[in-house]
């Protein structure tokens, strides 16, 4: 193989992996903030909980490619580029985080919660000292699922000009170039596996407590 082609391919891999991480990082950050926040609020307000879980569920059921397509013609938030891709990824990874936050908090043992309240904890203290520490492993598990899915889904961002490793894959598919497909797919898979392993480690550490 021509060393010049190989070199340019390597350069692409490095740059596009960076873009991919940017897409995943930014969208996961917002998904965690919104998901955990809504989840906590939902445990305080049952109506908000069912509404938010339903909405997140709907986003999850829309095929990811279609979700990207839907947002393209939407003014302001839509259009070509990374910001639309990030919005899609946020919506797409919201559900596991939101659901696990709600489940983690609501499954804290009733006697534990009752004792905490009866001894005079405020609602904020109950959340900070009891519910969040006990729900942490479940919430982390939700974040892990969201993150791993997110890394896979971010490949589609390339379709709407969002960049990332998807660029290599779609280019490879269009030009029937297996090497180029693999050059995109292998780093993407490696990222997902690494994220999964890392988060599993965090989760296990938290569960032991």
């Amino acid at each position: 193989m021509d060393p010049v082609v190989l070199q340019s391919l390597l350069r692409d891999i490095v740059q596009l992996t960076g873009e991919h991480l940017f897409l995943v990082g930014v969208s996961s950050f917002f998904a965690i903030v919104i998901g955990v926040g809504l989840g906590i609020l939902g445990t305080r307000r049952p109506r908000l909980r069912s509404a938010s879980v339903t909405v997140a569920n709907v986003f999850q059921t829309v095929p990811s490619l279609a979700l990207f397509g839907f947002l393209l013609p939407v003014p302001f938030i839509g259009g070509i580029g990374a910001h639309t891709a990030i919005l899609c990824l946020v919506l797409y990874s919201l559900l596991p985080i939101l659901r696990n936050t709600v489940v983690g908090i609501t499954t804290v043992d009733r006697p534990v919660r009752e004792a905490a309240v009866a001894m005079g904890m405020t609602d904020g203290q109950l959340l900070r000292l009891v519910e969040l520490p006990l729900a942490a492993p479940t919430i982390i598990a939700g974040i892990r699922i969201a993150l791993v899915t997110n890394i896979g889904t971010a490949v589609i961002a390339a379709v709407i000009g969002g960049g990332g490793l998807g660029v290599l894959i779609f280019r490879g598919v269009a030009s029937v170039d297996t090497l180029e497909i693999l050059a995109g797919a292998i780093p993407a898979a490696a990222l997902a596996l690494a994220a999964d392993a890392g988060m599993t480690l965090v989760e296990r550490k938290l569960r032991r407590v």
């Binding site: 006697p111 534990v112 009752e114 004792a115 905490a116 009866a118 001894m119 005079g120 904890m121 006990l134």
Partner: protein, 311 residues
């Protein structure tokens, strides 16, 4: 003054179990004013004081905890109705009843885990609805059957829960934890850094009792605390509780459906049936009471237990 008062109270109680007395809360001190029976009846200090000095004024109240015609309904279901009760300092009032009789509900109304639908509950003369619920709960010890220990906290952290909420200095918290764990018969050094899951049921409940006593509350609430323990541990815990009660001179309300436990622990037993108070009696009086639930509970006792109490 409080300590001296506690000593007098103990003296009288130990000298003669049938003695009753009344306490007046003077502006600056307590005074043991009268004892024995009144008009041939054993009276609680409250009823006696009312007979003598009329309806108590706010602040003069003798009972530490008082239910006044308290009712509680959940939706259309009436859980409690017309409950009037008094509990004094140093006394353990047992709420005895079958499942669903409303005894746990009555207990939860005291620290406002539930809000009474009618009537009022007075603590040291003050309506508990006028108090901030958080501040109120931080003064009341609470022990439940399922322990309710924080699984992610060590024994020492669990015991220090209320001191921590009240912002005690760390040094004082540690000192108090040591004192408490020794008092409930767990070696401080051996259990302080262990987690609740590593302890037996009896040990866990000791931790829960120590936790409830941490800020030396004036009032302790127990919701079938020893229901999940084996009979031997249960007996040990009951005896320990009696010792701690004498030591702390705390008022306790103790919910149970175990008649033997009620007799062993209670200074008075209030029998609840379908949300109504059936009768209040001291353990020895309890054997003369003829109301249906009290009689039914009594019939579950072994004959020699009954004979021992009657003698």
């Amino acid at each position: 003054m409080n300590k001296k008062f506690a000593e007098r109270l103990n003296l009288i109680r130990h000298a003669d179990k049938r003695t009753s007395f009344i306490l007046f809360k003077w502006p600056e001190s307590y005074k043991i004013a009268e004892e024995f029976t009144f008009a041939g009846q054993i009276c609680s200090p409250c009823t006696l004081s009312r007979t003598i000095i009329g309806e108590p004024q706010r602040g003069d109240l003798l009972a530490f905890l008082e239910f006044r015609n308290v009712g509680y309904s959940a939706g259309s279901q009436v859980v409690l109705q017309g409950l009037s009760l008094e509990v004094e300092r140093g006394e353990t009032l047992v709420l005895l009843g079958r499942s669903g009789s409303g005894k746990t509900t009555a207990l939860r109304l005291i620290n406002r885990l539930l809000e009474a639908s009618s009537g009022s509950i007075l603590l040291d003369g003050q309506d508990n609805r006028e108090m901030d619920p958080i501040a109120l709960r931080r003064q009341i010890g609470y022990v439940i059957q399922e322990f309710g220990l924080m699984p992610h906290w060590t024994v020492e952290q669990n015991v220090s829960l209320m001191p921590r909420l009240l912002d005690w200095p760390a040094e004082r918290q540690g000192q108090r934890a040591r004192e408490l764990l020794d008092q409930v018969g767990l070696g401080y050094e051996s259990v302080r850094s262990r987690y609740p899951q590593e302890l037996s049921g009896g040990q866990r409940q000791r931790v829960a009792v120590a936790r409830a006593l941490a800020v030396s509350p004036a009032l302790l609430l127990f919701d079938e605390p020893f229901g999940a323990l084996d009979p031997i541990t249960r007996r040990e815990m009951q005896q320990q509780l009696l010792r701690l009660r004498d030591q702390y001179q705390v008022a306790s309300v103790f919910v149970t459906h175990d008649i033997a436990e009620a007799l062993a622990i209670g200074t008075r037993i209030a029998v609840l049936s379908e949300g109504r108070l059936e009768v209040v009696a001291t353990p020895s009086e309890f054997f003369q009471v003829q109301t249906p639930t009290a009689a039914a509970f009594r019939s579950t006792l072994a004959p020699d237990t009954v004979a021992a109490w009657k003698a």
